[in-house]
Symmetry: C2
Subunit: 277 residues, 2 copies
């Protein structure tokens, strides 16, 4: 029997395969697995690729897939049907619950995920409560996409004179190989909406913030404030005071320190989530 | 000789045809003409439809087309080439300048356009200065899309418990024939990004605001504040104290009154733009 666990996120998909006896078979990695962002076909192909890389080409008996973008009952219907043939038995779950469960093994806790998108979920042993996580258009406050979009809008204000131009402007233009507003508009509209590219700008904001750019620091603080408010809301509702931080945004020391400090003021301890085994 | 003037905006395209002697031929109306939102083929088809309806099927000698979405030199290249066969001689211009020129006939002034998108342009007789107008992703603060998107994000917070639910939530759900978050997520992601539908939610915010919904009023005030700041910036740069209001958002009495009052505080008089002839 081959068992695989899959983490299908907004930036990449990772699959790990084991035998029933606990023998490690392999790890497979591929592109984004959030079908809201890349479309169903791309998402399914990426998930399939990751799984078969991890199993060295063998069909798994059981695949448990944690999915970003599994946000509504319609998503559940669409994804169940699209993924059912990837293993003899396929289990799909919202990635936030998988992530929290991996941390607490079923005990109460709050998971804060901020990667391409964001979501906060709490579990008190009985009830699950989730806020945000409704995707790039409707929610995901404090995610990399949210930060990247705000950075782009700030950049336009810097370029047309409404805001003072800082280092952040130069760094984003450089990253996008753009020389000004003309190039930026071309980049934004002439080739479709680029969710991952926009999210990747959060890394540029981090670089600028670390070099002392006040506007970049403000942006990160605003993002941390938004997602911390979500955690505080869940904490109060469920009476849980421990939260685990997961997702690419927390690789920024500055962003993480803002979140940790904001939560500490409310008596909530924010901890690093353990890495995958 | 047949001359046509075309206003190609985010919501609709209107063409008016005259003979050289000033004899009115006709008016033609069609769908959106902003190619950033609906794609180049749709935009060109809509513009062609409007023109030929206005000329009763005759090819115009000169077409002067004011275009929303003509925001960069790349847009200019793409649109010049795509529209050049619609008349013997085709002139394209940014819709904000056409709109301002129609009002002042070349005299100094500021135009505030807030429809699906938004842009503010000033002209002091020599220099043109434009801010915003870089489209739904990058700018267009205080536009109907900007308001609609913020309303959707507020709605999600109302639905997942982070904000208190008001009348606005019920009205938006009703408008989208959605019963809750599941339907909303399906609407948002399962059929592509709906720029005009999102912009049309500004009308719902207006209805809620007029019924006393504080959250809806706050949203309109925030939008008015953003676009007024753009006007104040241009006013200071060019030394112009008269602004003309144009576009669908100003059909909201409340939104207009916020803008008029905010500008009045800075000594700027905001006037209604004359209707088309």
């Amino acid at each position: 029997m081959i068992l695989v666990g899959v983490d299908a996120g907004g930036t990449s998909t990772i699959s790990i395969a084991y035998t029933c006896e606990g023998k490690f078979i392999g790890i497979g990695e591929s592109g984004p697995g959030n079908f809201h962002n890349v479309g169903l076909e791309n998402a399914v192909n990426n998930i399939r690729d990751a799984i078969y890389k991890s199993t060295k080409g063998l069909k798994p008996d059981v695949a448990c897939i944690g999915l970003a973008g599994l946000d509504s009952k319609y998503d559940y219907e669409v994804l169940s049907s699209a993924l059912k043939d990837l293993a003899k038995d396929t289990i799909i779950e919202h990635d936030s619950f998988i992530s929290l469960y991996a941390e607490t093994r079923g005990k109460p806790g709050i998971i804060i995920i901020s990667g391409t998108g964001s979501v906060v979920m709490g579990y008190d042993g009985k009830r699950r409560l989730r806020v945000g996580g409704a995707g790039w258009l409707l929610s995901d406050e404090g995610s990399a996409y949210w930060i990247g979009r705000k950075a782009l809008r700030l950049l336009v204000k810097m370029l047309d004179g409404r805001e003072e131009k800082t280092l952040l402007a130069d760094l984003i233009l450089q990253k996008l190989s753009a020389s000004g507003l003309d190039d930026l508009i071309k980049w934004a509209y002439h080739e479709g909406h680029k969710i991952e590219e926009i999210a990747s700008l959060a890394q540029i904001v981090d670089i600028a913030a670390n070099k002392g750019d006040k506007k970049a620091q403000e942006l990160f603080y605003l993002a941390a404030k938004e997602i911390s408010n979500d955690v505080i809301y869940i904490s109060k509702k469920l009476g849980i005071k421990t939260a685990y931080m997961s997702g690419g945004m927390f690789s920024s020391k500055l962003f993480k320190s803002y979140v940790v400090d904001l939560l500490k003021k409310e008596g909530i301890i924010a901890l690093d989530k353990k890495k995958s085994p």
